[in-house]
Amino acid sequence: MGNNIIEVKDISKSFVISSKSPGLKGTLKHFFKRKTIKKKVVKNINFEIKEGEIVGFLGANGAGKTTILKILCGLLYPSNGYISVAGSRPFEREASFLEKITLIMGQKQQLIWDIPPVDSFYLNASIYGIEKKEAIKRIKDLSEMLEIDSELYLPVRKLSLGQRMKAELLAALIHKPSILFLDEPTLGLDINAQSNLRKFLQIYNKQTGATILLTSHYMKDITYLCKRVICIQEGYITYDGKLEKLLTKLSPNKEVTIICKSKKDLENLKTLSLEIKNINDNQITFTINKFDFKNTLKEILNRFDIEDLHITEPPIDEVIGKILINKK
């Protein structure tokens, strides 16, 4: 892993928004005299991202994830602070910078609706100054990776959402960007399409060494792709580090259900100094801290003759859900 490709220091962003009271009275009041408030959506955030990293942004709706992505790719001016992406100031939107990045948004599309995706690819290639021969090669390579072929010659409107997303990716990657900003890329896709997309992104990252920044509400996207996550809450960064560490922090325990051969074993198990969650017939469920887990389990297996055992972890969605609810 290389040098820092993204550096963000003390970035804030405020928007002026107008608020309106309900009802006709409120509407009229709003028409004649608008009440505007300045809302700070991103608050003094700092982070650095190394070349080739895949980083996930976690946060509830309206937490500021998309705003941060938009600041990073140069669509929004930060209200203050220092920002450097691939050695450039993003908001200057220099051609040399734009050639290095790409933005993919799950709910917006850049492909031309009435014509086949392949025509949009050639258009994009010409914008990035890619020769036709080279463009054909890149389309072939990427379509093989994305497992999409004949669909590229059908009008976009005839494609399924999954096929369209693949085509969107191809259009966004034809200029071989080194930084990918993905805003909920798997939104609305079925389970298979989501999984294919994740696999593709992982392979793309490995093959090209591209840096990927991703926001998603599907936890699978994050756990599959990102070793590092940045949690955002009401515009603040509340966590920046390894995903594993975050999960351990939020849910430090695992549950083990043991089915005993005899009541005697069950009684003996009860004497262990472990937190018992519940007892049912000859089944007993313990809550065990992840740090002691291996040793405790070894001890149980050595000392007792048990019939069966299940290990469960709280569902990751539930754990991450805690971040979204917890206040700072």
Partner: protein, 277 residues
């Protein structure tokens, strides 16, 4: 010197080559879209032919009881009709399909994709689409003009050709800038689609000689919204009636409008916050 050469080559010639290529793809994709809807194409074609016949019919009604309107006789007024048809064709070919989309770009937030491409955003927004049926109108307009040369016994010289070209380009620039200026305000007001409709209806005024309006309307349509200005001057040039100052004035006005519309776009982009997702 080497740096200078590099600058001219990389940002000048190479850029022109790139933009021409992109423009050819724009045209290609627009034609493909139009051809997807064959029936639509036929209707558009019929509309433009009927539109021209209707306008000439209207003009003939005005002249049925009088030989002159504002110092222009029917044959001369037909030149204005020809110029108007060309400009209307250009409007339908380029301005209308493109600048109407600005509202969509902004409401749906797809302007994000335009701004993140290493290409001039004004170029993209102004030339992305082309509606080929408008080209028929442009052709029809030129036929009317050629017919007018014969009707008015005009000796068409190289100089009048050059002057006509210059004034037409200026007229197109003014019209484009006006349209683009109004569309740009979408960034603040989001729905300005109606405002361009108003401009379109003002454009209808351009079918009549500027001198046929009252003094106050003449001022309005030649300064605030210089619609008649843009059809009258090329017509006068063709008739050999236009004094040099008028041509120079039109060149100046068109340059001011173009520069202003560009600056206004750049200024407006600073307020673009992109639709939230």
């Amino acid at each position: 010197m080497e740096i200078w050469n590099k600058k001219v080559y990389c940002y000048g010639l190479m850029n022109i080559k790139k933009y021409l290529k992109v423009y050819s793809y724009f045209n290609y994709s627009s034609f493909s879209i139009e051809l997807e809807y064959k029936f639509n194409l036929l209707i558009d074609l019929l509309t433009s032919i009927l539109g021209l016949i209707g306008s000439i019919f209207l003009l003939s009604i005005f002249f049925s009881n009088t030989d002159e309107i504002g110092g222009w006789n029917f044959n001369q007024a037909l030149i204005i009709q020809g110029i108007y048809t060309i400009l209307n064709g250009i409007t339908n070919t380029w301005f209308n399909p493109n600048l109407r989309e600005i509202v969509k770009y902004i409401r749906e937030g797809t302007l994000d994709y335009v701004l993140l491409k290493p290409i001039d955003s004004q170029f993209w927004i102004s030339f992305k689409r082309i509606s080929p049926t408008g080209l028929i109108e442009i052709l029809l307009g030129f036929f009317v003009l050629i017919y007018c040369l014969y009707l008015n016994n005009i000796a068409f010289t190289l100089i009048s050709f050059i002057l006509l070209t210059i004034t037409l380009i200026c007229s197109i620039s003014i019209l484009y800038s006006l349209w683009f200026l109004i569309s740009t305000t979408t960034i603040w007001f989001v729905k300005t689609w109606n405002a361009t409709e108003v401009l379109r209806s003002f454009l209808y005024m351009g079918r009549f000689p500027i001198d046929s309006f009252s003094f106050s309307l003449r001022i309005f349509f030649s300064t605030i919204i210089p619609i008649t200005f843009i059809t009258s001057i090329p017509s006068e040039v063709l008739l050999g009636l236009s004094p040099a100052w008028k041509i120079i004035l039109e060149v100046l006005v068109s340059m001011i409008f173009l520069v202003f519309s560009r600056k206004f776009w750049k200024f407006a982009l600073r307020f673009y916050t992109s639709a939230s997702s």
